[in-house]
């Protein structure tokens, strides 16, 4: 009998020690960047798995850092807006809370999460995109409402990021990437994503074509579009909370490349795109960086200065966006980049965009050919409008 008692204790002890070892390794390597353990070069300094867990680690970082300025929006904010921009020097810590592929509800909830953890929030910048207001854009599979608005890291998340087989494989990936210095998308401690090494691997035309094709063929993006009143209400809620709390809010439409807006046209949504802007302007003044201006019409070529692909602008462009909106170093910003829209100016601005497009097309015959290939990639059900 004693032999079995000792045996049972042994099994129990090995199980506990084995689980504790897994938990300690994962906590030390911290592959998702949620624990905040120190980074050691060539061991855990490159964490590529953060990119597939953005909603998890950014929610955790908000609890830990309690930023006074937040930069909200989609992956364009995530990859393009720098929280260390000099305009934020008085409102540090600033944090890039951009999510990947969110709808407006998810963005609003992350805003509320930041506010719950920092009641003294001073500055909010939000980059909005057309697809974020698509009724068919459902919450991302990794969005968990229950982890937001809390002042503590949920025990379930803690278990999943330490005592799990998935976390162990993520730790091994982190060690491998760090040791070999090989990664692509990584995150800075202030939440901004960057391209490791600063260079993309594929030719730029391939990146544009692949990504635009995804936009055109995904039901949640441009394959189907219906303006969601619920998502507009989410933006309205965010604007009203900022007013009540005396938080400085800047709203802007992302400066994606001109071909992104051509994709909207090809998909047959141009009038909805304009209606969306009209609706947003009813809620709040908005800086419009979209359309056909000096920045967005950069010819597509390898080594582009302003873009990583058709929709994601570089930090250099993100700096110009912040310069324009926050009144910092305005002299560096091209005159036609960024127009503040109000209900009084919206119609003339929409006409101006159409005029700008005509000029752009007349000056860029190679882009017309590219747009024609886009039309072929569009779903057949969409009434193409290439003119």
């Amino acid at each position: 009998m004693k032999r079995y008692l000792r045996f049972n204790w042994m099994v129990f002890a090995i199980t506990i020690m084995g689980s504790a070892a897994v938990g300690l390794v994962n906590a030390a390597i911290d592959p998702y960047g949620v624990i905040g353990t120190p980074k050691i070069q060539r061991l855990n300094d490159l964490k590529p798995r953060q990119f597939s867990n953005v909603r998890l680690f950014k929610a955790a970082n908000i609890i830990r850092l309690k930023p006074k300025a937040i930069l909200l929006g989609s992956s364009r904010t995530d990859l393009g807006l720098d929280p260390t921009h000099p305009a934020f020097s008085r409102v540090q810590p600033a944090y890039n809370l951009g999510l990947v592929g969110p709808n407006m509800y998810e963005v609003r909830r992350y805003f509320e999460h930041a506010l719950a953890n920092q009641p003294n929030l001073k500055q909010v910048v939000i980059g909005i995109d057309f697809f974020m207001f698509n009724k068919y854009k459902t919450n991302s599979p990794d969005f968990v409402d229950g982890r937001l608005g809390k002042h503590f890291y949920k025990p379930k998340d803690l278990l999943a990021t330490t005592l799990s087989f998935g976390a162990l494989t993520a730790s091994l990936e982190t060690i491998e990437a760090s040791f070999q210095s090989d990664a692509f998308y990584l995150y800075a401690p202030h939440g901004m994503r960057y391209v490791y090494g600063g260079k993309v691997r594929e030719p730029m035309t391939v990146r544009f074509e692949q990504s635009l094709s995804e936009y055109l063929n995904s039901a949640e993006y441009y394959k189907k579009f219906q303006l969601s009143q619920a998502y507009l209400a989410d933006l309205r809620t965010l604007v009203e909370i900022c007013k009540q709390r005396n938080i400085d809010l800047k709203v802007f439409i992302s400066p994606s490349h001109a071909t992104q807006f051509e994709a909207i046209r090809v998909a047959g949504h141009w009038s909805k795109f304009e209606d969306w802007k009209r609706e947003v302007v009813k809620i709040t003044p908005v800086w419009d960086f979209s359309g056909y201006n000096t920045i967005t019409t950069e010819p597509i070529h390898d080594g582009m200065r302003h873009y990583w692909d058709n929709s994601h602008y570089t930090k250099e462009v993100g700096d110009l966006v912040l310069n324009r909106m926050l009144g910092y170093g305005k002299e560096k910003v091209p005159n036609d980049f960024g127009v503040l829209l109000t209900p009084e100016t919206i119609e003339s601005h929409l006409n101006q965009i159409i005029a700008n497009r005509k000029v752009w097309l007349s000056e860029s015959p190679q882009t017309i050919a590219f747009i024609e290939t886009l039309a072929l990639k569009a779903p057949q059900s969409a009434p193409a409008q290439t003119q």
Binding site: R3, Y4, R6, F7, M10, V11, F12, A13, I14, T15, M17, G18, S19, V22, Y32, R49, F51, S52, N53, L56, S74, S75, V100, G101, F131, S140, P141, D142, V144, K156, L159, A160, T161, L163, S164, F165, G166, A167, L168, A170, Q210, S211, E214, Y215, Y221, D309, S311, H312
Partner: protein, 96 residues
């Protein structure tokens, strides 16, 4: 085992056994099997050998000895089970 609740086969087997009608067999997704049906058949044959020839759980328990080796084996399996209970809900995005 006798198919009293119907028979399910992987969708990929439909090309291999097109003469089976939908009334007799349900073709459905088996996410743990390889997508190539040839590999799927091989895996199933291998698993059939495991099921038929290797001892089942009751036979394994009959052989259990309260030795150090058994404790390490059982403790390791229990650890694996424990860390498989929790899961990070990941999502691999395209470019959005």
């Amino acid at each position: 085992m006798l198919g009293m609740n119907g028979i399910s086969l992987p969708e990929t087997f439909q090309t291999l056994l097109p003469w089976l009608s939908y009334q007799e067999v349900e073709f459905t997704g088996f996410s743990y099997l390889p997508s190539d049906y040839k590999q799927g058949v091989m895996v199933l044959v291998l698993l059939l050998v495991v099921v038929v020839w290797l001892p089942n759980t009751q036979q394994i328990v009959q052989r259990l000895q309260p030795s150090r080796l058994w404790a390490i084996s059982l403790g390791s399996i229990a650890t694996l089970c424990l860390i498989s209970l929790n899961r990070v809900s990941e999502f691999l995005y395209f470019q959005f």
